[in-house]
Each structure stands twice: as C-alpha cells, then as structure tokens.
C-alpha cells in the first residue's frame, strides 16, 4: 500500500496539481502564485540543463569505452573526445570568459560553422537526386507532386529584370503556399493539437502515468 502510494498516487497528485496550476496560470493571471509557478517552471529549465550534463557524461562514457576497446571507428571517438576536451579547456582555463571567450568563439566561427554549413549544403544535391528519382511521372499523384515542386522551385528564384517571365510563376507559388499548403498543414496541426490536449488531460487526470513507469 505504501509502495503504491509512493509510486502511483503521490506522483499523480503532484503532477495533476502542478499541471493544473500552470495551465490555469497560462490563461488567468495569478499574481500571488506567480513566484511559485515561475519557480516550478524554473525547475523544469534546471532539469533540462542537468539533462545536458547527463548527456555530456553519457557521450564521454560511450566514446571512451569505444576508444578503450578499440571498436570499429574508434578514431572518430578519439577526435570527438579531443575536440570536447579542447573546447572545455579553452572555456574553463584561468582567465577565460567562458563561452564568450575569443578562443572559443574562434573555434566556433572558423571550425564548427564551416563544417556544419558545408555538410548541410551537400543536402541540396541529395535532395535533387531524390527529386529526380522519386518524382517520376507514373501516376496522376506523382504528376501533381512534380508539377508543384517545379512551380515552388521556380517561385523561389529571385525575380530580376532578366527573369520577368517568372512573375506568373511566383504568383502561382504564393497561392499554392497560402491556400492548399496552408489548408493541409492546418489540418495536421489541429489534429496534433487535439491529440496533445487529450494526452495532457489524461496525464493530469491520472489516466496515464508515464512518470510511474
């Protein structure tokens, strides 16, 4: 009985009470309870920050084990751990400004940013290849998708005096985004919102207890 109270009833009471209060605070101003409720939300952000630390520890443990056991690809783990150690040393060394230290900023600007940008730029070619392979004119649906993709791509082209023939296409693209695409996306968002609201209510009412599992 005590175990059930500790594992089921108490978490459900805490979650439900706090959840209802925060939800009410979203719609109704409660100046008296604002410090308490803001403190609860603050806890949530602290827990999120602690999750980052846990993630970093897990990353070090996982790649350190791979490095020690010489598993396949251990060289990449070594690079990752070395990069992590370098950034930490630069940020934690005596006299450092922390995350805003010029050295750390230099690493970010001249190492991390070019790498991330370059890798993401390659996605354009993969997308182009995928478009060529996927958008085959086999059925009516694929024809519609292909034509729509072509129209959207042409509508993204900056219109200059040399590309004035693209104006009708740009207007068509604007219509497609505002009407059909928005309508479809709205349906998806409303359905997802209903599902999220239902799940939230079930958790608040204790019908689902993910925290007890």
């Amino acid at each position: 009985m005590v175990r059930r109270i500790a594992t089921v009833v108490l978490p459900w009471l805490l979650g439900s009470v706090i959840g209802f209060l925060v939800l009410i605070h979203f719609f109704v101003a409660l100046p008296e309870l604002s410090p308490l409720l803001n403190g609860l939300v603050e806890w949530a952000t602290i827990i999120a920050a602690f999750a980052v630390l846990v993630g970093v520890a897990n990353l070090v443990w996982y790649h350190g084990r791979r490095l020690l056991s010489r598993e396949r690809g251990w060289e990449y783990s070594l690079v990752l751990l070395l990069a992590m150690a370098v950034v930490l040393v630069l940020g934690l060394r005596p006299g450092s400004y922390g995350v805003g230290d010029p050295l750390v900023q230099w690493v970010f600007r001249y190492i991390l940013e070019p790498l991330a940008t370059t890798f993401f730029s390659l996605l354009a070619f993969s997308l182009a290849t995928g478009i060529v392979r996927a958008l085959r004119l086999r059925h009516v649906e694929t024809i519609l998708v292909t034509v729509t993709a072509v129209v959207i791509l042409l509508g993204q082209v900056p219109i200059t005096s040399s590309w004035t023939f693209l104006r009708p296409v740009a207007r068509l693209q604007e219509w497609l985004l505002r009407v059909p695409a928005a309508a479809g996306m709205r349906v998806i968002l409303i359905g997802a919102a209903i599902g999220a609201a239902t799940t939230g209510m079930r958790i608040l009412l204790g019908l689902e207890r993910p925290y007890a599992e």
Binding site: H25, S34, L37, N38, V41, E42, A44, T45, A48, A49, V52, Y97, G98, V99, G100, Q105, F108, R109, L112, E113, A116, T117, F119, F120, S121, A124, F125, A128, I131, V132, R133, L135, R136, L137, T146, A149, V150, L153, L154, Q156, V157, P158, I159, T160, S161, S162, W163, A170, E174, L177, R178, A181, A182, M185, R186, L189
Partner: protein, 751 residues
C-alpha cells in the same frame, strides 16, 4: 521345420523364404501326424517285414518300420514311384549314373591305410548300433535320428542289411566326432546365424542320404543288366558276415541307408573313411550275396579281400563347374586324391553344396551385410590359385578356373535410355577436365553510355561549376523586392522610427537557429543587424541607434549572435557601436518552451541573467538596466531555424503579447509548415521573411533606403544570378529526370 508351400522343401525354423525355391514361407509347421504317415513303399516294406521272417529283425522290432523311416512329407506318398519329389529328383541321376561313385563313397571304397585304419578299425572303442546311429552322430544328426533311438526299432530291430551288434562294434566310432566345417564356412561358424547353420545341416542331410535309398523298389522290379553289374561297386559284392540279413530279403536301400548313416557320420566326423574290413562287415547281406541291392546298382564299398573296385576312367566324369572355393578339397575329403576328387558323378555333385545352389538357396533370404559381402567377394575372387585359404588345406591341387556365371549375381535390369544418357553425361562431365573460365568479350559500350557513366559520379561538381559560370556570365540586374517582403521591411523600419522618447528603441532578437541553417539565416541575420544598428536618423542624431538584445534557446544561438554582431560592428558606417550599449548578447537559456514561458512571466534579466560574451550580470551593462519585462520591448524579431522554435515563440510569447510588434525570419523551407500560424489571429507575426531570396531583397532594400552595402566583396547582383541559375538547374534536373524515361530506354533504371 517349416514346409515350403510350393516345393514342400523343409526349411529350418525362422526362415522367411524357402531355401529351395525362394517362395515366402508361411508359418506352417510340419504337421505332427506327418511323421506318422509312412510312404506307401515303406508301408509295404514294413508289412513285408512284419509278415516275413526277417532274420535280422529282432523280436518285437519288426512289427513297425523304424520311426526315422516313417518321416517324410505326406505328399511323398503320391509320387508314382512311391518316392517323395525331392527324393525322386535325387534318385533320378542316381539311376542314370549308378556306377558313378559319390565322393564320400569313393572315400569309403578307397583302401584306407595308415593309422587311421588301425584306429578306426581296431583301436577304437566299440559302440552299439544305437550309439553308432545316435551317440556317434553330431547333434544336428542326432536330432534327426532321435526317433530311431527312442523307438523300439531303434533299440532292438536291426534293419535288414545292417550289421549285427558285434559287427557294429567293430566299426564303431571311438569318440564323439567333431565335424569339420565346410570350406566356405571356415572361420564363420561362430558368426553364422542359427538359420544358416540349420540350412547347412539340411544340406548335409541331403548329402548323408543319397538318392539311392529309393532304389530298392526299382531294383526289385527289374533285373540287373550285365552292364549294370559291371558298374556295381565292389562293396555290393562283398560278402556280408551276417548273411542272414541278405537272406531276409530286406530292401537293400533300407539297410544300405541305415548303414550309410553311420558311415557318413563317421566320415564327416573323422574325415577319414572307415576301415575296409569294417566296411565289409558293415555291408548288408544282400549286398554280399548279390541281393536286390546288387541289382539296384548300389555302390560297392571296397573291403579288404573283396573284389576291387573297377577302374573308372577319369574321362568318364563330366566337367563340373565349381567355384574357386569349391575347387578346394572339402574337409570331408581331406585324403581323397585329386583325381578321385574330380571323378565325382553328376548326381553326387548335385548333392554337394555348390555355389550356385548356395546362391539360389540364399537368394530369397534376408542375408546380413557381411554375408552379402562374402558373396560379392566370391565373385571377385580370381580363378588363380592365389587364395591363402587354399594353402591352409595343406594339399595343392589343380584349381580349375571357376566359371563366373555360377556365382555371378543376376544382372541388373537394363537402364532406360534416359537414365543411360544421364549416366553417360555424368561420366563425360567427370572425365572432362575442369573448364577454364574465359572472359566473355563484352561489346564496347556506346559513346552515350560511356558519357552517362562518366557523368554519374561527377554531376554534382559539374553542376556547381556550371551554375557559377553561367551565373557569373549572365548580365546582372537588381532584384525585384516582393511586395510581402517590402511590407515587412517597412514595418520594421516604421517601428524603429516611431519609437518616441529619449531612449532608443529596444529590439529583442531571438537567434534560435543552428549552423546548418547558416546558408539562409546568416545573410538574413546580417541584413537585419545592419538594419537595426544603423542610425535611426543619421541627419538629426547619428549616434542614436536602436538597442539590440540577443537571446536564444539553443546552444549555438549565442555564438551566432556574437558573430553577426561583430560582422556588423566591423562594417563601414557602424563605427561607434558598443557592446553593452547598443548590443547585448544574453546567450542562451535551456529549457525551450519553459524558458520562453519564464520570459513572458518575468523580466528578461531574470530569464537571461548573464551575458554571453563576458558572463557578466545583465545589470552590469547599461542596456541591461533598461531591460524589464517584454512589455518594454519595442520590437520582437524571431529568427527560427526550426519549426519547433518558431512555434514555441509564437505560442508562448506572441500569444501573451499579441500587440507586441513581431517579425518572423525563417528558412524558406518552413513557410508551408508555418503558414497556418501566419494566418492565425492572435499569434501571427506582423510579417515574415523567408529564405535567401528575402535576404537578397533585404540587402537591396537597405541599399535603396540607406545606402548600406552588406557584402562589398561579392556584388548582390552576381549572387542573385548564381542563386537563380542554381534553382533553375534543379528544376531542369527534375524535368529531365522525368522526361528522359518517358522518351524510352531508362524506364525503371532509377538512374
């Protein structure tokens, strides 16, 4: 014993198939009354014996025929000659070759010399007729002769022609004989199954009882011709010591058979023939006196002092096909000369265990593997006298090559043509050498295929190179700013200009995008920062600039904001801007939506307490002191690289401050996803800028409105051309990728 339903042959118990004809045997035991049924000729003999004064018949023993003579199948009475079929078959050659001696009889008739004769005739212990017939017999024969021992006739009734007790004593076997195994069974006696041992026993019985026991009846019916008399063995002419037996007129075969049993037993057991004098004494009276047995052509047993056996030319014996194993002397013929061994009549050889008969005898049986292998080995044995087992016999003799056909297994059924062809093919494949793989000459690919193969791995680089070249070569022209974007830019500028009071307008910019969105977001951020940090009214107060506070909920947001700020700070026309006064980077706050929730419910400094660059408290800076709640913010610019970030800002912040001027800047990819939020009342921003095209138009707008040039190293027009060519190239790829398969040749190839 089991009687074969087909040929009526006796088979040992346990036989599944008949040893003679191979027919499956049913469990039909020999009827118990059958031994009591006496053949007609034996009954007649028995009646004659009972009626006549048989001198050799003892009192009380001549009323009934001996029990062992009563044995025999009931069907044997039905034979015309009064003989059972098996006996008739064996009797036929006996009649035809009456003068031919069986090997054992030859042995009997041969003058035995040496110690064997002495041992057998003189030194051996004397046994009675019962012992000679029963005790002196091997166990298998004792079983057969058991009735004779038990019955009164066996004890008291001496058969006609049988020697008297004193004569029996003379030729008695001194001790229990041990029968020598057959050559083909040497070394296998212990391994022989019971049924095979019994089969061998039955075969020996056939040897013991030759065909001529049935001859007395025929002999009594016809006279003996002179030629036959010449062929009569000398034993028949030998005087019988007890002439009463011959005078009794008993059938010669009867007495002959009775005596022959003992003689055969002695022969098998001792391997030597009985002494000649004993044989003479054992000869029945009718033989001695030329009784019926003489007319029947009974073989004569040479005895000492008797008429010698007529010389039989060797050429008179037909060639008998025997196997290599049979070519060796049998144990019961160890001392028979080679010439005599060959002079075996056909009818006697028919009684001998021949390989073919053995094979046919075992044909229908479930033989164990080791016995099958033995049969196959017999086939493979060469006819040459190279077998070691022949040497064990101690005597060398000429071995005739055994005809293969006598022991050869029946040929396999002929193969069907299809199987024969398959076998030939298999043999050919096995015999053929392993083929050496030869490279198949492939036709040279066409020029077009080689071009596509070369292009398949290089098209991205070629595409980029072509885009750069074409975009650089194309004539440049300023872009046309879209109406939507123009409205947004005007709205931003209007907010900045409309701020009343002495303090410059306060702008909160959210850098919630990561580096992988830098391609689109960085130009937008740079243009926005140039716009925000420029003097509001350069003519009136060039130092009055909007105050920009950067916040973020992502880890990279603080770095990106710092970089964008520094790029604007270092640009021309922005001299004098200072960190902490015109710009403050408050870094990031973990927690996502929770952080934004805090931002809306408490002062900004409470949510972002320290700055990113130096880690100082917000209040440390002059701009930080101005920061309060979001109500004091003049403009909110949300730069979101992901849908979730944009939605979080719109749902958590924009919904709480719907009257706060808000602009959304996001990649073009997010426009379809965020379009519903753009159309939703209450949370929709005042405007949005999407992607790289908006960035170029922003730069162009700044250039037009304020003369600000964001990038001096790379003209905007050229970048516009390159962007336009790249997008058109992607469109061309999509179109060509769909049109080429329709043109044929590449459908389904996926390339």
């Amino acid at each position: 014993m089991i009687v074969c339903p087909k040929c009526r042959a006796l088979n040992p118990d346990g036989f599944l198939f008949c040893g003679r004809c191979g027919k499956p045997l049913r469990e039909e035991k020999e009827p118990g009354k059958e031994p009591e049924e006496i053949p007609s000729w034996l009954k007649e003999l028995g009646e004659g014996l009972a009626a006549g004064p048989g001198p050799a018949i003892r009192a009380g023993g001549g009323e009934e025929p001996p029990p062992w003579l009563e044995e025999g199948p009931a069907e044997e009475k039905a034979t015309p000659e009064g003989l059972p079929p098996w006996l008739a078959e064996e009797a036929a050659p006996a009649e035809e070759a009456a003068g031919e001696l069986p090997p054992w009889l030859v042995e009997e008739g041969a003058p035995i010399e040496g110690p064997a004769a002495e041992e057998m005739g003189v030194a051996g212990p004397v046994v009675g007729p019962e012992e000679g017939a029963g005790a002196g017999l091997p166990p298998w024969l004792a079983e057969e002769a058991a009735p004779a021992e038990e019955g009164p006739a066996g004890e008291e009734m001496p058969v006609a022609g049988a020697p008297r007790p004193e004569e029996e004593e003379a030729r008695a076997v001194p001790e229990e004989p041990v029968r020598a195994p057959e050559p083909w069974l040497e070394g296998l006696e212990e391994e022989l199954p019971a049924w095979l041992a019994m089969a061998e026993t039955e075969k020996r019985e056939a040897e013991v009882f030759p065909s001529w026991p049935g001859a007395p009846e025929a002999a009594a019916e016809r006279p003996t011709t002179p030629a036959e008399e010449a062929e009569i063995p000398a034993v028949t002419a030998e005087p019988v010591p007890s002439g009463a037996a011959g005078e009794a007129g008993l059938p010669a075969g009867w007495g002959q058979e009775a005596g022959q049993v003992a003689m055969e037993a002695e022969t098998w057991e001792e391997g030597v023939g009985p002494p000649a004098e004993e044989a003479a004494e054992a000869a029945p009276a009718h033989v001695e006196e030329g009784g019926p047995g003489e007319e029947a052509g009974l073989p004569a047993v040479p005895t000492e002092g008797a008429t010698p056996l007529p010389e039989v030319p060797h050429g008179e014996f037909p060639e008998v096909e025997v196997s290599a194993e049979e070519a060796g002397p049998a144990p019961w013929l160890p001392h028979v000369p080679e010439a005599e061994g060959e002079r075996v009549p056909d009818w006697a050889r028919a009684l001998q265990p021949q390989e073919s008969a053995q094979a046919s005898f075992l044909e229908g049986l479930e033989l164990p593997d080791w016995l099958r292998v033995e049969e196959e080995r017999v086939e493979e044995v060469p006819a040459e006298p190279t077998l070691s087992w022949l040497e064990r016999l101690g005597e060398e003799e000429e071995v005739k090559p055994a005809p293969v056909g006598t022991t050869a297994r029946p040929p396999l059924p002929p193969l069907s043509p299809a199987r024969r062809r398959a076998a030939d093919l298999f043999a050919a494949l096995v015999a053929a050498p392993e083929p050496v793989p030869q490279e198949r000459p492939s036709p040279a690919p066409s020029l077009l295929k080689r071009f596509f193969r070369w292009l398949s791995g290089r098209w991205p680089g070629l595409f980029l190179l072509g885009v750069l070249l074409v975009g650089w070569v194309l004539p440049s022209s300023p872009p046309e700013i879209a109406q939507e974007n123009w409205s947004v830019l005007e709205r931003i500028d209007q907010v900045l200009r409309s701020t009343a009071g002495e303090d410059p307008p306060l702008v909160l910019v959210a850098f919630d995008w990561d580096l992988h969105r830098a391609g689109e977001m960085h130009p937008l951020g740079t243009a926005l920062m140039r716009h925000l940090l420029r003097p509001i009214d350069p003519q009136r107060d060039p130092r009055k600039r909007p105050a920009v506070v950067a916040v973020s909920t992502t880890f990279q947001g603080g770095y990106i904001a710092q970089e964008v700020w520094e790029s604007a700070r270092d640009a021309s026309g922005y001299e004098g801007v200072a960190y902490g006064t015109d710009f403050l980077n408050l870094a990031m706050r973990p927690g996502g939506e929770s952080a934004l929730r805090l931002l809306t419910s408490q002062p900004v400094s409470a949510t972002f307490p320290v700055d990113h660059l130096f880690g100082q408290p917000v209040e440390y800076y002059a701009l930080g002191k101005r920061l309060g709640r979001l109500e004091g913010i003049d403009l909110l610019v949300v730069m979101a690289g992901e849908e979730s970030k944009a939605v979080a800002w719109l749902e958590q912040v924009r919904s709480r401050y719907p009257h706060l001027p808000c602009v959304l800047i996001a990649p073009a990819e997010l426009r379809p996803v965020l379009e519903p939020y753009m159309q939703a009342r209450g949370i929709s921003p005042d405007g949005a800028l999407w992607g790289l095209r908006a960035a170029f138009e922003y730069e162009d707008w700044l250039n037009r409105m304020s003369g600000i040039v964001v990038h001096r190293d790379l003209p905007l027009e050229k970048r516009l051309n390159v962007l336009a060519v790249a997008q058109l190239g992607l469109v061309a790829l999509v179109v060509l990728g769909n049109l080429l398969p329709l043109g044929g040749g590449m459908e389904g190839s996926g390339r």
